[in-house]
């Protein structure tokens, strides 16, 4: 399988103590999968994606292992990860629109990156031109400055650069939230095309917008307050969720066709706990309408279907 995470724990070191941003996450992705990673702000999804590729202060590695294509990925070792970065694992960052050096021509920028990482540039040129055509960018873009491009063009350019070495894992961190509806659809479809054309083996698509995930993700992982809530095929997570939080989250998504006057939706009262000292046991306990006495203990992860796991006491009770 392409990527396996085992009990990964990453905390933030702050003046006021340790923020338990990522607490014991485990899951697997197969080759060619697009995993959607969703959750509200502060649930740890960005911490997760950054810790896989660039784990440095203020993030602190606590424990857990990561295997990519069967080989162990030394995420905790900043130096050893250097030659893995960009070759095996690459990221399209949240700040993609100003990820390129503004005062250097794009072609030279790519050339510099390859030269300094002493990768051979042979054959990369025509591959680069081929991929530019696929994403609808003209070759001339290579001797333009990033400032001369539109938002959409910059986004696509960074996508091409990030996947130029055919990394086995690509992380796309909130790349559609700043875009308009039309460009959002184009960029999401392009990501799927990159997977189909084998530019990348598998993709983790991080976003808070569950409806975009439904469109392009094969599997969806829902996180809440730094913890694993539920993972499963996109179809199941949206239409037959098992974790209480996922149910409420999907029910709170307005859709074209749902009107306040006929079917008013309900939000989730309260707000996520502060991760400086999170509640014991299930972290959704303060906001969960169906909480039980067991919920003060850590909910175990149980299998509820093909590739479908959930960490909720209610489900444990139902199966017992």
């Amino acid at each position: 399988m392409s990527l396996e995470i085992k009990n990964l724990k990453v905390y933030y070191q702050t003046l006021r103590g340790q923020v338990k941003a990522l607490d014991d996450i485990s899951f697997k992705i197969n080759d060619g999968d697009i995993l959607g990673l969703a959750g509200e702000s502060g649930c740890g999804k960005s911490t997760f994606s950054n810790s896989l590729i660039l784990l440095k202060a203020p993030m602190k590695y606590i424990g857990g292992e990561v295997f990519l294509d069967g080989k162990k990925l030394p995420v905790e070792n900043y130096e050893k990860m250097k030659e893995k970065r960009y070759k095996d694992i690459s990221i399209i960052p949240q700040y993609a629109l100003n990820a390129m050096n503004p005062t250097v021509k794009i072609g030279k920028y790519i050339h510099d990156v390859f030269a300094y990482k002493n990768f051979s540039y042979k054959g990369v040129d025509n591959e680069l031109k081929r991929r530019l055509k696929i994403v609808g960018l003209d070759e001339g873009i290579l001797n333009m400055y990033p400032i001369e491009l539109s938002g959409g063009m910059k986004q696509r350019m960074v996508m091409v650069i990030a996947t130029l070495m055919n990394p086995s894992l690509l992380i796309a961190d909130e790349i559609t939230s700043a875009l308009d509806v039309s460009t959002q659809k184009a960029v999401s479809k392009m990501l799927v095309e990159f997977r189909d054309k084998k530019f990348v083996k598998s993709i983790i698509f991080v976003t808070h917008d569950v409806s975009v995930l439904y469109q392009i993700a094969d599997k969806i992982l829902i996180m809440y307050a730094g913890k694993f809530a539920e993972i499963g095929p996109a179809e199941k997570i949206i239409h037959n969720p098992r974790h209480v939080y996922t149910k409420l989250l999907v029910k709170a998504m307005p859709e074209v066709g749902i009107k306040f006057s006929d079917t008013p939706l309900t939000g989730i009262p309260g707000h996520p706990p502060l991760l400086i000292d999170p509640p014991e046991g299930c972290r959704f306990i303060d906001r969960c309408p169906e909480k039980m006495k067991e919920c003060v203990k850590e909910p175990p992860v149980i299998k509820v279907g093909e590739d479908h796991y959930v960490a909720c006491w209610k489900e444990v009770k139902k199966n017992a």
Partner: protein, 298 residues
């Protein structure tokens, strides 16, 4: 209640300001009592500019705004204050709407000094408590706190409570929930819908079509500063005529259907050529293709 005719906003561009950029181009629309009108457009469509023009935060370059029949296009001080008793606004980013170095409830003191200087403190205390409760906030929990000690949702409700304090008739809500998480944004929307029953009308400015559909009874689709389609929400969303509205509706990510499963739209009105701002040469004509459902046609 509020009627805008040929509302235009031009910005000077280029050195020495010879070039002109039309952010809003001859937009005409009406907002009646107890209406929630959603003004939908992508970034750069001029929707925020329209909101700011109604709130008199930017100059109007052309056209006219009438409120309850009275022309308010360029009113000043005293009658501007009267206008603000009737029309108020809520902005997008809650953390930039509160001055970070003061306590959050300072906005209520400002309202008291400007609109109710004569009111005694006790009466004001009561009026403040009622409006906070009516937006679902518990006064003891939220008062005299710094903005960074409150959540985005609570701060937005503060702003709505502030408008209720002035018992306002029209609220301009400019992308008020785009900074909030999915779970908390629904409650703020429901709050707006409930206030509609009590007589408050709202201009709901957003780029998110499903939010626009959820609470509004009238919808306006804006593209590059021009209103391309306008009418009752169900008609605009389920019988879109303008090509831009159709493409917008087709690219909205839905939870019930994948993008490629969406059926092709059959042309309902074959003889219509939609007016594309910037591309179409001739003057646009807003024609009524069905009962008060208007489309911009060449």
């Amino acid at each position: 209640m509020l009627e805008a005719t040929n509302l235009t906003k031009e910005f000077k561009v280029g050195s020495f300001g010879r070039g002109v950029f039309k952010a809003v181009n001859k937009a005409s629309f009406k907002i009646d009592n107890k209406d929630i009108v959603s003004l939908i457009g992508e970034s750069g469509s001029g929707k925020t500019t329209i909101g700011r023009m109604i709130l008199k935060l930017t100059q109007i370059s052309g056209g006219q705004i009438k409120y309850n029949g009275k022309d308010v296009s360029d009113i000043k001080n005293k009658n501007l204050k009267e206008y603000y008793r009737k029309v108020q606004g809520v902005f997008q980013d809650p953390f930039s709407t509160f001055n970070p170095i003061f306590k959050a409830d300072r906005i209520f003191k400002m309202v008291k000094n400007e609109f109710y200087p004569a009111l005694s403190n006790k009466e004001w205390e009561k009026k403040l408590d009622d409006s906070l409760k009516s937006v679902g906030l518990n006064p003891k929990e939220v008062l005299n706190k710094y903005p960074h000690q409150l959540s985005g949702g609570q701060l937005q409700r503060f702003l709505i409570a502030r408008a209720l304090l002035i018992d306002v008739e029209l609220l301009i809500a400019d992308e008020i929930i785009s900074m909030l998480d999915a779970s908390t944004r629904i409650d703020v929307l429901n709050l707006l819908a409930m206030l509609k029953e009590k007589g408050l009308s709202v201009l709901f400015i957003t780029h998110d079509l499903s939010l626009g559909y959820y609470i509004s009874n009238k919808a306006i689709i804006l593209y590059r500063g021009v209103i391309v389609e306008m009418g009752p929400t169900d008609k605009v969303f389920f019988n879109p005529v303008h090509s831009y509205t159709q493409s917008l509706l087709d690219s909205v990510p839905r939870l019930d259907m994948k993008w490629d499963e969406i059926p092709k739209r059959k042309k309902t009105y074959t003889d219509i050529v939609s007016y594309i701002p910037g591309m179409s040469k001739r003057e646009l004509k807003m024609t009524e293709i069905e009962e008060n459902h208007f489309v911009a046609i060449e």
